[in-house]
């Protein structure tokens, strides 16, 4: 078990290092940083001075090691647009994105697990068809479109919820539902397939033969095994949700990391983009690692594979 964890951690670390290298290289390939830092009215001499002052005239490998060393300590440099250190800007907005991502995950699980179970219990029934319809729509509708529909219905027509902005819980409802809608089909299909497979297995037949109550069989014996794949996928989906928040946050003007990323890309604020890419990638890597570990704990067979 310990060896498995060490192996997985090393792989995660390697992925994080690769992401940091790629994001650093992308930053340097996308334009002259010295020119951006010096500002639009800088002369060639000013730009050369900035290049020297910021160490941009050094070999790129040295620059990377310097940047990575600082990044480990939380120093991602200054935003070119806001002229402030990057990390506090991101740290201020991270809770918004986390709140959005976690809310979306909770909503997605809350909707998809009962629906998946119901669909598995009554294959080809109306509830199964309803689940299938939700699943198809969830995958077919672009998330920004679904968000706009919600906005028009709940924000404009019914006026139950604020259309955009950042504030209390009510500002998260529509964005979280929109974001969750992307994950629901995956969770629902996994739950349905898992439940159907488990319900057909011998130990469930044995449990039923012993005369256990059907609810006990369903929730105590079947569900635990059926949702194991969900753990890994849920972690991955949370990672996707954090990245996917770029579109949702900009549609709803929710001032999270996604919105900041969108703004920073559009105004070529490279240090912020680079830090966001790295931070979100690290979240994704850590979540995947945690999911692997949790799965290994839940299902001992995984550890020996």
């Amino acid at each position: 078990m310990f060896v498995y964890f060490i192996k997985r951690s090393l792989v995660a670390l390697l992925v994080a290092i690769t992401v940091s290298i790629v994001s650093f290289l992308l930053l340097h390939l996308s334009g002259d940083l010295a020119q951006s830092l010096a500002g639009p009215s800088a002369s060639a001499a000013d730009v050369a001075q900035v290049r020297k002052a910021y160490g941009l005239d050094r070999p790129i490998a040295i620059q990377y090691l310097d940047w990575a060393g600082k990044a480990i300590r939380g120093d991602f440099g200054d935003s070119l647009f806001l002229k402030q250190p990057v990390f506090p800007i991101i740290a201020e907005r991270l809770p918004v994105t986390m709140m959005l991502g976690i809310s979306a995950l909770v909503i997605a699980l809350f909707v998809s697990i009962p629906l998946g179970i119901a669909a598995a219990l009554r294959p080809n029934s109306w509830i199964d068809r309803l689940a299938l319809t939700i699943s198809v729509f969830g995958q077919a509708l672009p998330s920004f479109w679904f968000g706009l529909l919600l906005m028009m219905l709940f924000g404009v027509t019914l006026r139950w919820l604020p259309v955009s902005g950042t504030g209390g819980w009510e500002y998260y409802v529509m964005p979280a539902i929109t974001l969750s809608y992307y994950s629901i089909p995956t969770f629902m299909r996994l739950t349905r397939a898992g439940m159907m497979e488990v319900l057909a297995s011998d130990y469930i037949r044995t449990a039923r033969a012993k005369g256990l109550r059907s609810m006990t069989v369903l929730f105590k014996h079947a569900l635990r095994n059926a949702i194991i794949p969900l753990v890994a996928v849920a972690a991955v989906q949370l990672g996707f949700a954090l990245g996917g928040s770029i579109v949702i946050e900009s549609v709803f003007s929710l001032h999270g990391v996604g919105y900041l990323g969108w703004e920073s890309i559009s105004r070529a604020d490279f240090p912020v983009v680079q830090a966001i890419v790295l931070i979100l990638a690290c979240f994704y890597i850590v979540l995947t690692l945690l999911a692997d570990m949790l799965n290994a704990l839940l299902d001992p067979r995984i550890r020996v594979r």
């Binding site: 639009p40 529909l149 027509t157 902005g165 950042t166 003007s253 001032h255 703004e263 105004r267 070529a268």
Partner: protein
């Protein structure tokens, strides 16, 4: 990319009939909520270059002179009188009894400190055109100053009546541009209550605003500015009553909005002009665009009347020159390029590009459908243009880095009613100059600095003739902005594209 499509389809799908009138427009709590499209890099008016920065500056600070938004006449503001001492010296009598929002009294020190600071190249203000003509300012006595010019600059009063706000010198010396950007302090009709970069700006009425200001006492208690990035979101906010005022409403949404009870849609032509800028100098590398025939071919391939009619209100006009017609020196008789595909193809063939070529079209602010249309026109003569739609600061940086072969942009001249505000920016060898034409640069520089109006007109005519003849810049059309707002607001649009919130009131 999805903004306009989403807006159209969303509104079409739901139908106007579903919408109800805005129910909680904020007249009740005296708060006007407005949406701006562009965020401001730094609220210090000398360290941002976008329109929203100009609007904010008018509210927070005052100028020496005020220009009447309707008549373009100059009116006394922080200066009560002014005179040209000679071609290189302007003298101002200053107003007494004005106080800044931090309680400091206004006098000559403030004018001198501000103008000397912003005109010093070491301080690197962004709008060098606005202040580059100032040599220095000199205090004559506590309420009299002189401004010395580097060279004759006839448009000086236009600039002093526009993008040159006066700062409190004690505060500015202490906090600098960074501090002023975070916590602006001025003498204007509104005070900045809070400023969260990228999120919102809250302004409150300056209850101690000085008497006799041509701007008048502000009427609305509080103004909250937000920056929803999507036009669709802005529209939805307006419909739900979450916003009271938006602008740059897409033309295709106007008819729908006009049907909504409780909202008013207003339009008006503005001084802003659209343009296509060709890299004739080859700053972005060697390309077919350095051939005048290719540039002329593109000018002939773009159907400007159709483009204007499709995307703008009827008050917008196709332009005959690279400036706004009311601006001094904006000559209207230069060579014109009608929509003529056959001629365009012939020119491409002559230039050796019968099958066209590939390039990149850079743009900002405009809805993607506009760039799609322009790319479509160019495709007709074989030019495949991939579109790079950026936010303004990124667009400006790309231009200044010289990597843009073709740019589609717009320019509001900082609302200066003089051709120097546009030609002086794009054709004097600055980072925005892609003509590489030294002779042209000389003419424009001379015109910008000559004190003889007749001579200026002649020089601008020569310059405009050259620009149009060599097709360095294709003037597209004047802009006509659509504004949509709650009909509880008394609102008037102005040609200089500055919404003066301090003049507006609740009905």
């Amino acid at each position: 990319m999805f903004r306009t499509t989403a807006a159209i389809t969303c509104m079409a799908a739901l139908g106007v009939g579903l919408w109800t009138a805005p129910g909680f427009a904020n007249k009740a709590n005296d708060t006007l909520r407005v949406a701006w499209d562009q965020q401001i890099d730094n609220a210090d008016a000398y360290f941002n270059t976008n329109r929203e920065g100009i609007i904010l500056a008018r509210m927070v600070w005052d100028q020496l002179i005020d220009r009447d938004p309707e008549t373009f006449q100059y009116k006394p503001a922080l200066a009560t009188a002014w005179r040209w001492v000679d071609d290189l010296t302007l003298e101002f009598d200053l107003r007494q009894g004005v106080k800044f929002q931090d309680g400091q009294p206004f006098d000559a020190e403030d004018v001198v400190y501000t103008l000397n600071f912003v005109s010093n190249p070491a301080n690197k203000v962004l709008n060098t055109t606005n202040v580059g003509w100032i040599k220095n300012a000199e205090k004559i006595d506590q309420y009299k100053v002189r401004i010395h010019l580097k060279a004759p600059f006839p448009a000086a009063l236009e600039y002093l009546a526009g993008p040159i706000p006066i700062y409190p010198h004690v505060y500015y010396a202490k906090v600098g541009p960074d501090g002023m950007g975070r916590h602006p302090v001025g003498s204007g009709p509104y005070k900045v209550e809070s400023l969260e970069p990228g999120k919102s700006i809250t302004l409150v009425k300056n209850t101690d605003y000085w008497n006799d200001s041509p701007k008048g006492k502000p009427k609305i208690g509080k103004i909250v500015v937000t920056f929803p990035p999507e036009k669709t979101t802005q529209l939805a906010e307006l419909l739900s009553g979450g916003l009271d005022w938006i602008w740059y409403v897409p033309t295709d949404q106007v008819k729908n909005l006009e049907k909504v009870k409780g909202l008013t849609v207003t339009s008006g032509e503005t001084m802003r002009v659209g343009y296509i800028y060709f890299d004739a100098a080859g700053r972005s590398g060697k390309s077919p665009l350095q051939d005048v025939r290719v540039r002329q071919a593109i000018a002939h391939a773009i159907n400007r009347p159709e483009f204007t009619k499709t995307f703008f209100a009827s008050t917008a006009n196709v332009l005959k020159g690279p400036c706004f017609p009311t601006q001094f020196g904006c000559y209207q008789g230069a060579k014109q390029y009608d929509y003529n595909l056959a001629k365009a193809k012939e020119l491409m063939k002559e230039a050796g590009y019968p099958d066209g070529f590939s390039t990149t079209l850079y743009a900002f602010r405009q809805p993607p459908s506009w760039e799609d249309a322009l790319a479509g026109y160019m495709r007709q003569i074989g030019i495949q243009a991939s579109i790079q739609l950026l936010q303004y600061p990124a667009f400006r940086n790309k231009n200044h880095e010289g990597v843009t072969p073709i740019s589609f942009g717009d320019w509001g001249s900082y609302s200066i009613n003089d051709a120097s505000a546009i030609l002086g920016n794009f054709f004097t060898g600055s980072a925005d100059d892609f003509s590489g034409d030294k002779e042209l640069q000389g003419w424009v520089q001379d015109a910008d600095t000559n004190s003889d109006p007749k001579k200026r007109e002649e020089l601008y005519k020569k310059a405009i003739d050259r620009i149009m003849d060599r097709m360095y810049w294709l003037p597209m059309n004047s802009y006509a902005v659509y504004y949509a707002h709650t009909n509880e607001l008394n609102f008037t649009p102005y040609k200089d594209e500055i919404p003066r919130y301090y003049l507006y009131s609740w009905k």
